[in-house]
Symmetry: C2
Subunit: 204 residues, 2 copies
């Protein structure tokens, strides 16, 4: 694609570096911005730059934050003795949007995946163990994606916590609400049978 | 969607103003940028701001340009007496990418569309008429989208040019290459029959 201006071309190249955005979409976005006021586009650019520059990660749980301690860790109304362990910030947002969890989080920054070259040392596991040893944590709930990497990570961390009195749980795995039994894979179905619940209990 | 940081939220809001980008996609893009270097994201923001601030529109044809006159108008190797009239800059890029056109362009900035409140005065028609009167233009080729608005615009401009000797043509309309006759609408098929060409001629 031959563009008539190098300024335009640079902007299109920058946009097309973003995931899921090709050259044609990038051009559409840039031409849209070109129709906006200079001030508005300036504000767009500044907001993005400032976000990257000023954003902090919570020193306690590694969640995204405006301050040194995130709003969830700083909130005394939340149960500070309950930790939900997640892979990344997107998962924090997903769990928060259920409005069913009143504890704090711990963001690992990934899961153990030898094939991708990610070992326990690259993850925020040390911080989690520290918190459990020093913060009188009663329970940690693993909310990791249900796959081999997630299970390996749970197993690894659980081993590290054997000498503590902290309760370790994981979110339930089974047939999703609205899902159909005949299309579920065998492993999920088998697990959901072996982890069956009394009928009164599953809608607490 | 509850976000843990106002900086993050502002960035997501800015991205979700762009066409075709919702809140979830915006969040994905912002979290991607968050993984990049500070300098790289700064460069992203600056490139977008600079593009909007410094970009110019060619004084002759209204195409996007880095200088007062765009590279196509300034190129003496191109036929300066042949003008392709298009609706917007995207269409310039589309025609250029065929590598079949060696003339110049004229960007109208839209088409006459009373329903959207766009009349001839809001378009760059005056500039086109001026060019034809002063630049010894031999032919103008309309490359507008084949719909009522496009046809109205062609009709309006053609009326204005009645007293000039300039030849007025429009790009061929017919069955697209790779298209199937049975799915073509009746109007297109009827036109392609009435505008039929000798067999030797259509692959010039």
């Amino acid at each position: 694609m031959q563009l008539p201006s190098s300024l335009l071309e640079n902007a299109v190249n920058e946009f097309s570096k973003l995931p899921g955005i090709g050259k044609k979409t990038a051009l559409r976005l840039v031409l849209h911005l070109l129709k906006q006021d200079v001030g508005e586009v300036q504000h767009f650019g500044d907001t993005i730059s400032r976000m990257r520059q000023d954003i902090k990660f919570c020193q306690r749980c590694s969640n995204i934050s405006d301050a040194d301690i995130c709003s969830i860790c700083a909130n005394r109304m939340r149960n500070q003795h309950l930790i939900c362990v997640v892979e990344n910030i997107r998962d924090v947002i997903a769990v928060e949007s259920t409005q069913q969890f009143n504890g704090t989080y711990h963001v690992l920054g990934g899961v153990i995946s030898p094939l991708d070259g990610i070992g326990p040392d690259q993850l925020n596991i040390e911080g989690l163990v520290n918190r459990i040893q020093h913060e009188a944590v009663e329970e940690i709930i693993f909310a990791l994606n249900p796959n081999i990497q997630g299970d390996t990570t749970i197993y690894y961390i659980q081993k590290k916590l054997q000498n503590t009195s902290c309760k370790v749980t994981t979110i339930a795995r089974g047939i999703a609400f609205g899902g159909e039994l005949e299309y579920a894979d065998e492993m999920t179905l088998a697990r959901s049978i072996s982890n069956r619940l009394p009928v009164g209990q599953y809608v607490k």
